[in-house]
Symmetry: C2
Subunit: 437 residues, 2 copies
């Protein structure tokens, strides 16, 4: 007996090389445990053989979106730092508040942000923040898939590496494998070479990868060359960071020689265009990365810069900015954008063999979309609608690791109203702590 039958939906199907997208109609998706058993024409199986059946008439199924770089608990700071530069944003707005955060704040922030993501069809997130044991508890409860990294700076001294190693040991593979972990040094400009080398040794010993910010701006690349004689990506190579699997956030200031380096390693770029636009940063060379075979994944970054965790907006901005910067509307076509959002983001996330496709043997992380809204009509071109018209509200049902986490827009795993209430009351206490300090 299988566990879940998703009956009579359409299914988004991408060509193996991402060059075309089509929609198969009248399909059933059979799920056993946390895995997709098969996707087949409808009515070949009897629904009474399934513990649960979702009637998905008229809905489109596609892989859940994967957020390859975020700081989810920063949802607490939504709207607190608008219209300021990256430097002022960090030094005057974000870092002073973060000093007063508690593990409980992180728990509720992670929970609230995960709800926002699930409501928008995001089924997995690579997160980089503090008190990640609390974040992991929220992830376990809400049912999202996550790759968690506990952020470290070199001024924290090396004992932080032991502490975050203990976090990795405790949580790697937790929640039946739904939670994975990485070591998470902040960036080459905030972690010296010795600190990075010690982190690599820990990651190797633990058998995990590293999630790190790198070359956020061209200025950082220049500054690194002046101070260390190397680009930030060369620093990663020299210190051994690239010898383990990595998620590299941003890389907006990557040079051609950096891209050349990255082709030799198991790595991927997390791309968060809304942050780059809002903070007036450069856009990473997405097309060049992809042409060199370095995968690029969608990311929101934190809500303090993005303002939401809406990954559809990231996809749209990524595609539009490549067209704009190259003054070439043909680049980053609709099928490519969908391929990047699914298959390629799964690679960057580190589970390219298990996520990003609705195929037999893949993990059952999928979403059902209602495309009947006026903003989709007339429905000539569903793939284009997914990239350029879709709204988070169109996501009706979300299944993660075989579990129905949202159905008909109702979150089933946690109490959303309580999460909102707790965030509000915790923030009042946070404001008080700041005032007293």
């Amino acid at each position: 007996m299988s566990d879940l039958l998703i009956k009579n939906c359409s299914v988004l199907q991408l060509a193996r090389d991402g060059s075309s997208a089509e929609v198969l109609t009248d399909r059933d998706i059979l799920v056993r445990g946390n895995t997709i058993e098969t996707v087949q024409p409808t009515n070949l199986v009897n629904q009474s053989h399934f513990r649960t059946c979702i009637n998905a008439n008229g809905m489109l199924a596609m892989p859940g979106l994967i957020n390859t770089h975020a700081h989810v608990p920063m949802v607490l700071f939504r709207g607190l730092a608008e219209d300021v530069s990256l430097e002022r944003w960090l030094n005057n707005c974000i870092w002073p508040i973060e000093r007063h955060l508690t593990p409980e704040d992180v728990y509720w922030g992670m929970l609230l942000g995960a709800i926002e993501m699930i409501e928008a069809g995001v089924t997995a997130v690579a997160d980089h923040y503090f008190y990640m044991d609390s974040a992991a508890e929220a992830v376990e409860k809400v049912g999202i898939r996550a790759n968690l990294g506990w952020a470290m700076f070199d001024w924290m001294d090396n004992s932080i590496i032991e502490q975050t190693s203990a976090f990795v040991s405790q949580w790697q593979g937790a929640a039946c494998g739904r939670i994975r972990t990485m070591m998470a040094p902040h960036a080459p400009y905030t972690c010296n070479d010795d600190f990075l080398r010690a982190t690599v040794r820990a990651a190797e010993k633990l058998g995990v990868g590293i999630h790190i910010h790198v070359s956020e701006t061209k200025q950082q690349t220049q500054a690194s060359r002046q101070s260390r004689g190397l680009t930030p990506i060369q620093v990663l190579e020299r210190t051994g960071v690239l010898s383990v699997p990595t998620i590299l956030a941003h890389a907006c200031g990557a040079l051609p020689e950096d891209i050349e380096i990255l082709t030799k390693y198991r790595t991927g770029i997390a791309h968060a265009p809304k942050t780059y636009l809002k903070l007036g940063m450069d856009i990473a060379p997405v097309t060049e990365f992809r042409q060199a075979g370095v995968p690029v994944g969608l990311a929101t970054d934190g809500v303090a810069s993005n303002n939401t965790l809406n990954l559809w907006e990231s996809m749209r901005l990524l595609a539009m900015m490549q067209k704009f910067l190259q003054r070439a509307p043909e680049v980053l076509s609709v099928p490519e954008a969908l391929y990047l959002a699914t298959v390629e983001s799964a690679c960057v996330f580190g589970q390219g063999e298990q996520l990003g496709k609705l195929s037999s043997g893949y993990l059952a992380d999928l979403i059902l979309l209602d495309l009947e809204g006026v903003h989709h009509q007339p429905n000539h071109n569903i793939p284009a609608n997914l990239v350029y018209s879709l709204r988070p509200e169109d996501v009706q049902t979300v299944i993660i690791d075989g579990q129905i986490v949202m159905r008909s827009r109702q979150i089933l795993t946690v109490d959303k109203t309580e999460a909102i209430k707790r965030v509000r009351s915790n923030l009042n206490r946070l404001a008080l702590r700041q005032k007293e300090s």
Copy 2:
């Protein structure tokens, strides 16, 4: 006895110069006929004195958004021309289909597009298309405010000017003033000088303005200089177009000397950033226009390039692209973006004295927003959330010209399901006509 009481809402309030935004709580909005009587602290009036009362507890009221340039019936072509250049887009995709359009297609396209706009909080649109008498019928029925222009090209010969003049005579001020009209020559590159001069004479005689595309790209500016010895905006000045009130769509290729010219006339720029990004065009010099005192309004352009009629997305892209292009996150701040979306868009639309503010004597075009969604939490900064987090689904209730057109997301004026059905069946017929031709 007044007509409508909107009870106990918050109200978005912008500084006169657009430099700051605040939210006033516990307000009542009193509407008499199509006009805002007053906005005042709640509970000063007895609701039994009103024909209709909307309890707006916890909702935010703000002016409806104004779309300053669209081709609404092109909603029929959503997704039909993706990943192609502006030239191929026009010559291979759009113009061949448009040849087969009928007035009935335009009616249903206008109706469907107007529903999409209303659902997204857009209360007025300056539209530029064909068979505008049919579009006007749809506008009259659905209840949106519109400034309609019947598109003309010089190859249509001068009788088209008489025909569209007749349209203007018939519809100017219709639907109790909710419908206004303009003459609508397509662009300087598709209308020769004589044709433009004849259009100006007609506009002057009718007492209306002109809505025209101009300098869509830098290439158009160069080509015009080569063929006519003038920039497209200089052509508009020379032919007298700028002597009447104008809406200028795009002006992405405007030069500093063009901006200088525009400061002397009653004109405004309609800015549709999603089109520019998707088609790999240049972004208009928004900051320079505004610094010179030339107002800039939000626009979607047509759905064939934008893919939606979501003006919130236009606002967000406009602000982010200015920050990005100037590598200066301080420019086009949250209050400025909201000012541009309301007060300034009303100016470009041609009703700056009557629209864009919730103030006594202004027309009652307003929207009520539910900001309780998870994607707004915690609600530290409502103005920032309006610019960077809001989704069309947050728009709960839409009032246009004093009439409740949507309430609790239900369109009250027309049958939305029928509109969708009719669009689908008409398009099947359109596909058939194309095949046969």
